[in-house]
Symmetry: C2
Amino acid sequence: MKEITIKPIGVIHTPFVEINNMPIQPLAAEGVKGVIELDESFVDGLKDLNGFSHITLIYQFHKVDGYKLQVVPFMDTEPHGIFATKAPKRPNAIGISTVKLMSIKNNLIEIEQIDVLDGTPLIDIKPFYPRYDNREDVQIGWLEKNKNLSVEKLRSDERFK
Amino acid sequence: MKEITIKPIGVIHTPFVEINNMPIQPLAAEGVKGVIELDESFVDGLKDLNGFSHITLIYQFHKVDGYKLQVVPFMDTEPHGIFATKAPKRPNAIGISTVKLMSIKNNLIEIEQIDVLDGTPLIDIKPFYPRYDNREDVQIGWLEKNKNLSVEKLRSDERFK
């Protein structure tokens, strides 16, 4: 299939400089502040974004090298198919995080609840709209048995480096 | 910034062969069936995915040419910044849809509630997990005034071709 070329639209600055000991999801990154530095050429694309409290970021897991088809995710002790997990070591190392939008000043976007490495290349920003993006009555497969795990305290290690 | 090269992992087959008259969101595609044809080399990555009722697909808007920084989205009659909309004519033409997972047979994944064009290149599959992916207490900016719009009946036109 034809390759797709992506040109990052900006970079995400966060307090996380190492791949271990990070929050594994936005839910586990309460209060963690970051700044998106958008390429100045895209500033006009931010019009009216400031009315949204949450935005979904698409970005590259830029420190991940290669991929595995089965992994033991942070949320379990057994291996699962990579597509049944959100682990970063995927065939296309693309991540999604919905974070809190705090402020926009020209090309700088302050965010909170961010769970990515400092210097992460940003691919896209989309507004979060619960009516379209939330789902109820959902089956969650292998996560069912781990759903009471205290993810807020769970931190990453180096397994997906 | 450094370019990112994406190699699609498969293709999404749907009933939609034209960019107009399509559902504009999965919510508007109730009962619409599609099939993901995954590259056979990735089948081992599907282990345990079948326990999930919903999966999030990342894909390319492959029929979109170029981008606009401000657009009049299907949900409004006024222009907004492209990053304050989910319109496809974006700097990186990447889409996200959370769909229903119906069955998996080897490399063929049957899905429902799919809102993309036939032949869409698939970039990634992630399991949908409400605890991480849903958000409550959300402000929705310009969408607030249109939130009672009957999106189930709204269809696309050719404005983002």
